[in-house]
Amino acid sequence: MSFWSNPILVANEWLTGLLADLLPEAWATLISTIIGVVVVSSFGLILVIFLIWLERKVAARFQDRIGPNRAGPYGLLQTIADIVKLLTKEDSIPEKADKLTFNLAPIVSMIAVLLIWAVIPFAPGWIGTDLNVGVLYIAAVGSFGILSILMAGWASNNKYALLGAFRAVAQLISYEVPMLLTLLVPVLLARSMGMMTVVETQSTWFIALAPVAGIIFLVSSIAEVGRTPFDLIEAESEIVAGYHTEYTGMKFGLFFAAEFLHAFTVGVLFAILYLGGWRGPGAEQYPILGVVYLMAKSSIGYFIVMWVRSTLPRIRIDHMLDLNWKVLTPVSLALLITTAVLDKLFAETALRVPALLAGNLVVLVLSWALLRMMSRKARRERQVFKKRPEARAVQP
């Protein structure tokens, strides 16, 4: 195995060999684990610098602008300049704020996103830890994100920040339901909750077996990140900036970076669960290719997230909750049941893919028809003719 086909494995073997000569085995394992953690989280943190530039460039194109183009070639150094600006800003803490919680919140928000990367399978054999409950783990660490927003909103001692935090909890906990249900669909199809197994069993990408579930997963994940059109938690026309109203400088920067990294992580998860992860020609022999495939597939999901962000306006809070509880949750429940039944009936047969695809389409058409019927009924109820009060001249 040469270095260029599997650099992580080679580097790991070299490092373990080096440490084994110097230290007892338990310490060598500990140190190489810590180095692994640092490498994976640094990858995420450095990725953010590039992502912010990418997002600004793409959003600019959608709005018929050029975007950052002054600092460095194609404006690539713009984010570095922004970071320097954020670092030199005054770090202000409100006088009546809860200092410890206030300072802890941005850190927790970043940790919550980085924790997801621990179970991301980059390539065959490249995974932080192959938990046998990896998919459930992703849902579990998501609750740290909610917690960080609540910490920030409450500790700021600011009405708008607290309102933003309340909205965030309502939205994030609601959208966790369809997200979890659509996370279960790949689990059902792969017969395992381990992320590596989910990728390995995708000889047919799961987007072909469960397209509707994939789309619902992407939509509810966008809501989970709190991006436009679901950015009611930081709606500037109503509640200033939501939970991070009181944050300045790099503390705000951490929230910002966590949001960008989370948005890309959504793309990564979509690629792993529905687009076959690192699978592609030659990925088994040359794991480095698997990373390239995974990043390319993740960019598809991330591009959709950016596309939606620059196209749609913010939705109203009752529409946001209606969409979740009246559309996404019932449809994903129906999909889960359909997938479970069809996958059991047609397991190991050639009909598996067409049957599951047809089941998805039937659920889609039925829910569409039901929605149209209900919307027509609601419109009829609204149109009941009522005599309007007329203006009349008052007789003296």
């Binding site: 938990l131 409950v133 459930l136 579990a140 909890v169």
Partner: protein
């Protein structure tokens, strides 16, 4: 002392400290944060016991749900509660009862023979999460308690819906 024992002692200390801080805080939101820390410590203990599934469920259920409880804590209490929080005057009795209960439990558990013996090694090659799943739905396993629990939850869900349902006009 092995590394595992060190981690265990540190975590156990953290849990006890967080639990103590939780019950002594006058600020409800601070108490909730310490509760989260204590519950997170419990999930670390689960990880040390090779019970990954339970550890993840611990984080998912408790830390996820506590955010909602904290919202209630914020909404249902006065903002200026920090300085002079109301103190329940019966705390002496509660202390006596809790101490009695704790000692009773310690004595009872001390008499249990399994405490003194070491647990056997867990076979980590088996997929324990999958076996748990099968046990929950197999007739030889726990299918009846499992189904009863889901009916209970369904009843709670329907009940909550009925309570929250807006009354129709004219009734």
């Amino acid at each position: 002392m092995t590394a595992m024992q060190g981690v265990f002692l540190f975590t156990a200390g953290l849990i006890l400290w967080a639990a103590f801080m939780m019950v002594t805080r006058q600020n409800l939101v601070h108490a909730a944060f310490y509760l989260i820390l204590a519950l997170f410590g419990v999930s670390i203990i689960f990880v040390l016991l090779d019970a990954g599934f339970l550890a993840v469920v611990q984080v998912l259920v408790y830390i996820g749900a506590i955010s909602i409880i904290m919202i209630f804590a914020v909404m249902l209490t006065r903002g200026d509660v920090i300085e002079e929080a109301p103190v329940n005057k019966n705390y002496g009795w509660a202390l006596v009862l809790a101490a009695l209960f704790a000692f009773g439990l310690i004595i009872l558990i001390g008499q249990w023979p399994a405490v003194a013996s070491l647990a056997g090694e867990i076979d980590t090659s088996r997929d324990l999460a999958a076996e748990l799943g099968v046990a929950l739905v197999s007739p030889e396993g726990f299918v009846i308690p499992f189904e009863v629990a889901s009916v209970l939850l369904l009843a709670a869900l329907v009940g909550a819906l009925m309570v929250a349902r807006p009354q129709k006009k004219g009734k």
